[in-house]
Protein backbone atom coordinates (compact mmCIF):
# COMPACT_ATOMS: atom_id res chain seq x y z
CA UNK A 1 0.00 0.00 0.00
CA UNK A 2 1.50 3.36 -1.06
CA UNK A 3 1.68 6.29 1.37
CA UNK A 4 -1.07 8.09 -0.59
CA UNK A 5 -3.34 5.03 -0.41
CA UNK A 6 -2.64 4.81 3.30
CA UNK A 7 -3.52 8.50 3.68
CA UNK A 8 -6.73 7.95 1.74
CA UNK A 9 -7.50 5.02 4.04
CA UNK A 10 -7.16 7.25 7.10
CA UNK A 11 -10.05 9.44 5.93
CA UNK A 12 -12.27 6.45 5.23
CA UNK A 13 -15.23 5.74 7.55
CA UNK A 14 -17.88 3.06 7.57
CA UNK A 15 -20.70 5.14 6.14
CA UNK A 16 -23.90 3.63 4.64
CA UNK A 17 -23.47 5.54 1.37
CA UNK A 18 -26.19 3.64 -0.52
CA UNK A 19 -28.72 4.11 2.31
CA UNK A 20 -27.95 7.86 2.33
CA UNK A 21 -28.51 7.86 -1.45
CA UNK A 22 -32.00 6.36 -1.11
CA UNK A 23 -32.86 8.91 1.59
CA UNK A 24 -31.77 11.66 -0.83
CA UNK A 25 -33.93 10.20 -3.61
CA UNK A 26 -36.90 9.96 -1.20
CA UNK A 27 -36.33 13.62 -0.22
CA UNK A 28 -36.40 14.57 -3.92
CA UNK A 29 -39.79 12.84 -4.30
CA UNK A 30 -41.08 14.65 -1.19
CA UNK A 31 -39.98 18.00 -2.75
CA UNK A 32 -41.90 17.20 -5.94
CA UNK A 33 -44.99 16.28 -3.93
CA UNK A 34 -44.76 19.52 -1.91
CA UNK A 35 -44.58 21.59 -5.13
CA UNK A 36 -48.23 20.74 -5.80
CA UNK A 37 -49.49 21.91 -2.39
CA UNK A 38 -52.20 24.57 -2.49
CA UNK A 39 -50.58 26.79 0.15
CA UNK A 40 -47.66 28.14 -1.92
CA UNK A 41 -45.75 29.98 0.84
CA UNK A 42 -45.86 26.96 3.15
CA UNK A 43 -44.89 24.70 0.23
CA UNK A 44 -41.86 26.90 -0.60
CA UNK A 45 -40.72 26.90 3.03
CA UNK A 46 -41.04 23.11 3.28
CA UNK A 47 -39.31 22.57 -0.08
CA UNK A 48 -36.29 24.61 1.04
CA UNK A 49 -36.28 22.81 4.40
CA UNK A 50 -36.05 19.50 2.51
CA UNK A 51 -33.26 20.99 0.33
CA UNK A 52 -31.35 21.93 3.50
CA UNK A 53 -31.67 18.36 4.80
CA UNK A 54 -30.45 16.99 1.44
CA UNK A 55 -27.47 19.37 1.39
CA UNK A 56 -26.69 18.44 5.01
CA UNK A 57 -26.64 14.73 4.14
CA UNK A 58 -24.36 15.26 1.12
CA UNK A 59 -21.99 17.55 3.05
CA UNK A 60 -22.05 15.44 6.22
CA UNK A 61 -21.67 11.96 4.77
CA UNK A 62 -20.46 12.22 1.14
CA UNK A 63 -18.04 15.11 1.85
CA UNK A 64 -17.24 13.60 5.28
CA UNK A 65 -17.88 16.91 7.06
CA UNK A 66 -19.44 14.95 9.92
CA UNK A 67 -16.04 13.43 10.63
CA UNK A 68 -13.92 16.62 10.27
CA UNK A 69 -12.67 18.91 13.08
CA UNK A 70 -15.03 21.67 14.25
CA UNK A 71 -13.10 24.53 12.57
CA UNK A 72 -13.60 22.92 9.14
CA UNK A 73 -17.35 22.85 9.84
CA UNK A 74 -17.21 26.55 10.80
CA UNK A 75 -15.50 27.46 7.51
CA UNK A 76 -18.27 25.71 5.57
CA UNK A 77 -21.02 27.31 7.70
CA UNK A 78 -19.52 30.75 6.96
CA UNK A 79 -19.81 30.01 3.24
CA UNK A 80 -23.44 28.92 3.63
CA UNK A 81 -24.26 32.15 5.54
CA UNK A 82 -22.79 34.19 2.65
CA UNK A 83 -24.89 32.13 0.21
CA UNK A 84 -28.09 33.00 2.09
CA UNK A 85 -27.13 36.70 2.15
CA UNK A 86 -26.78 36.50 -1.67
CA UNK A 87 -30.12 34.69 -2.06
CA UNK A 88 -31.83 37.13 0.32
CA UNK A 89 -30.51 40.15 -1.58
CA UNK A 90 -31.65 38.75 -4.92
CA UNK A 91 -35.06 37.79 -3.54
CA UNK A 92 -35.63 41.34 -2.23
CA UNK A 93 -34.74 42.71 -5.67
CA UNK A 94 -37.09 40.29 -7.45
CA UNK A 95 -39.95 41.04 -5.05
CA UNK A 96 -39.32 44.79 -5.52
CA UNK A 97 -39.44 44.53 -9.34
CA UNK A 98 -42.33 42.07 -9.68
CA UNK A 99 -44.26 43.06 -6.57
CA UNK A 100 -44.21 39.52 -5.07
Amino acid sequence: MSSETAAAHETSHRVPYVRIYWILVAALLVSLFLAFMEHHMLAAALIFAVALVKAGLVAGYYMHLKFEPRFVVLVVVAGVVCLFILFGGLLLDIVHVYGG
Partner: protein
Amino acid sequence: MGKLAAHTLTPAGAVNTFVLLTSSLCMVLAHEAVSRGNLRLASQAMMQTIFCGFVFMGIKAFEYGHEVAQGFTPVAGLFWSFYYAMTGLHALHVLGGMFAILAVRKAVARGQHVRRVEIVGIYWHFVDIVWIFLFPLLYLASRG
Protein backbone atom coordinates in the same frame (compact mmCIF):
# COMPACT_ATOMS: atom_id res chain seq x y z
CA MET B 1 -42.10 35.66 -11.05
CA GLY B 2 -44.24 32.69 -10.16
CA LYS B 3 -45.84 32.47 -13.58
CA LEU B 4 -42.45 32.72 -15.29
CA ALA B 5 -40.93 30.01 -13.10
CA ALA B 6 -43.84 27.73 -14.01
CA HIS B 7 -42.43 27.57 -17.56
CA THR B 8 -39.27 25.72 -16.50
CA LEU B 9 -39.40 21.99 -17.18
CA THR B 10 -39.89 20.51 -13.70
CA PRO B 11 -39.69 16.83 -14.83
CA ALA B 12 -36.36 17.51 -16.58
CA GLY B 13 -35.05 19.34 -13.50
CA ALA B 14 -36.17 16.46 -11.27
CA VAL B 15 -34.47 13.86 -13.49
CA ASN B 16 -31.29 15.99 -13.48
CA THR B 17 -31.41 16.14 -9.67
CA PHE B 18 -31.69 12.34 -9.59
CA VAL B 19 -28.76 12.06 -12.05
CA LEU B 20 -26.53 14.34 -9.96
CA LEU B 21 -27.41 12.49 -6.73
CA THR B 22 -26.49 9.22 -8.50
CA SER B 23 -23.21 10.76 -9.70
CA SER B 24 -22.39 11.79 -6.11
CA LEU B 25 -22.98 8.21 -4.95
CA CYS B 26 -20.65 6.92 -7.70
CA MET B 27 -17.98 9.46 -6.71
CA VAL B 28 -18.11 8.62 -3.00
CA LEU B 29 -17.96 4.90 -3.86
CA ALA B 30 -14.84 5.67 -5.94
CA HIS B 31 -13.29 7.28 -2.86
CA GLU B 32 -14.23 4.29 -0.74
CA ALA B 33 -12.75 1.90 -3.34
CA VAL B 34 -9.47 3.85 -3.29
CA SER B 35 -9.46 3.66 0.52
CA ARG B 36 -9.66 -0.13 0.23
CA GLY B 37 -6.92 -0.16 -2.42
CA ASN B 38 -9.30 -1.27 -5.20
CA LEU B 39 -8.13 1.11 -7.93
CA ARG B 40 -9.97 -0.76 -10.72
CA LEU B 41 -13.33 -0.31 -8.99
CA ALA B 42 -12.48 3.34 -8.25
CA SER B 43 -11.71 3.89 -11.93
CA GLN B 44 -15.05 2.34 -12.96
CA ALA B 45 -17.00 4.42 -10.44
CA MET B 46 -15.33 7.61 -11.72
CA MET B 47 -16.31 6.69 -15.30
CA GLN B 48 -19.91 6.26 -14.11
CA THR B 49 -19.71 9.72 -12.51
CA ILE B 50 -18.52 11.20 -15.81
CA PHE B 51 -21.35 9.40 -17.64
CA CYS B 52 -23.86 10.96 -15.22
CA GLY B 53 -22.27 14.34 -15.99
CA PHE B 54 -22.88 13.76 -19.72
CA VAL B 55 -26.53 12.83 -19.06
CA PHE B 56 -26.97 15.97 -16.93
CA MET B 57 -25.49 18.19 -19.67
CA GLY B 58 -27.64 16.52 -22.35
CA ILE B 59 -30.86 17.10 -20.40
CA LYS B 60 -29.80 20.70 -19.69
CA ALA B 61 -29.14 21.29 -23.40
CA PHE B 62 -32.61 19.89 -24.21
CA GLU B 63 -34.15 22.23 -21.63
CA TYR B 64 -32.34 25.27 -23.04
CA GLY B 65 -33.51 24.39 -26.56
CA HIS B 66 -37.11 23.97 -25.40
CA GLU B 67 -37.09 27.27 -23.49
CA VAL B 68 -35.44 29.32 -26.25
CA ALA B 69 -37.93 27.86 -28.78
CA GLN B 70 -40.74 29.22 -26.59
CA GLY B 71 -39.13 32.67 -26.53
CA PHE B 72 -37.66 32.40 -23.02
CA THR B 73 -34.19 33.68 -23.89
CA PRO B 74 -31.67 35.15 -21.40
CA VAL B 75 -33.00 38.65 -22.24
CA ALA B 76 -36.69 37.72 -21.75
CA GLY B 77 -36.75 39.16 -18.22
CA LEU B 78 -35.09 39.18 -14.82
CA PHE B 79 -36.14 35.61 -13.98
CA TRP B 80 -34.74 34.18 -17.21
CA SER B 81 -31.50 36.19 -16.90
CA PHE B 82 -31.11 34.74 -13.40
CA TYR B 83 -32.09 31.25 -14.60
CA TYR B 84 -29.57 31.16 -17.46
CA ALA B 85 -26.77 32.76 -15.39
CA MET B 86 -27.20 30.34 -12.47
CA THR B 87 -27.78 27.14 -14.47
CA GLY B 88 -25.15 28.12 -17.07
CA LEU B 89 -22.46 28.73 -14.44
CA HIS B 90 -23.46 25.50 -12.71
CA ALA B 91 -23.23 23.58 -16.01
CA LEU B 92 -19.73 25.01 -16.59
CA HIS B 93 -18.71 23.72 -13.15
CA VAL B 94 -20.16 20.29 -14.01
CA LEU B 95 -18.13 20.30 -17.24
CA GLY B 96 -14.97 21.32 -15.37
CA GLY B 97 -15.59 18.58 -12.81
CA MET B 98 -15.95 15.98 -15.57
CA PHE B 99 -12.54 16.95 -17.01
CA ALA B 100 -10.97 16.94 -13.52
CA ILE B 101 -12.39 13.48 -12.71
CA LEU B 102 -11.16 12.20 -16.10
CA ALA B 103 -7.64 13.47 -15.36
CA VAL B 104 -7.64 11.96 -11.85
CA ARG B 105 -9.00 8.67 -13.20
CA LYS B 106 -6.10 8.41 -15.68
CA ALA B 107 -3.60 8.94 -12.86
CA VAL B 108 -5.39 6.48 -10.54
CA ALA B 109 -5.40 3.83 -13.29
CA ARG B 110 -1.57 4.09 -13.20
CA GLY B 111 -1.63 3.90 -9.39
CA GLN B 112 -0.66 7.55 -8.94
CA HIS B 113 -2.18 10.45 -6.96
CA VAL B 114 -4.95 8.37 -5.39
CA ARG B 115 -5.51 11.07 -2.73
CA ARG B 116 -6.85 13.32 -5.49
CA VAL B 117 -9.97 11.12 -5.74
CA GLU B 118 -11.14 12.55 -2.41
CA ILE B 119 -10.29 16.13 -3.47
CA VAL B 120 -12.08 15.95 -6.82
CA GLY B 121 -14.93 14.13 -5.06
CA ILE B 122 -15.40 16.99 -2.60
CA TYR B 123 -15.57 19.39 -5.56
CA TRP B 124 -18.16 17.20 -7.29
CA HIS B 125 -20.34 16.93 -4.17
CA PHE B 126 -20.21 20.71 -3.81
CA VAL B 127 -21.51 21.08 -7.39
CA ASP B 128 -24.28 18.65 -6.41
CA ILE B 129 -25.16 20.75 -3.34
CA VAL B 130 -25.43 23.90 -5.47
CA TRP B 131 -27.93 22.08 -7.72
CA ILE B 132 -29.85 20.85 -4.66
CA PHE B 133 -30.67 24.53 -3.98
CA LEU B 134 -31.03 25.66 -7.61
CA PHE B 135 -33.65 22.99 -8.35
CA PRO B 136 -36.22 24.17 -5.77
CA LEU B 137 -35.38 27.82 -6.40
CA LEU B 138 -35.91 27.70 -10.20
CA TYR B 139 -38.31 24.77 -10.69
CA LEU B 140 -40.43 24.16 -7.59
CA ALA B 141 -40.83 27.00 -5.11
CA SER B 142 -42.26 29.58 -7.51
CA ARG B 143 -44.78 27.52 -9.42
CA GLY B 144 -47.82 29.10 -7.79
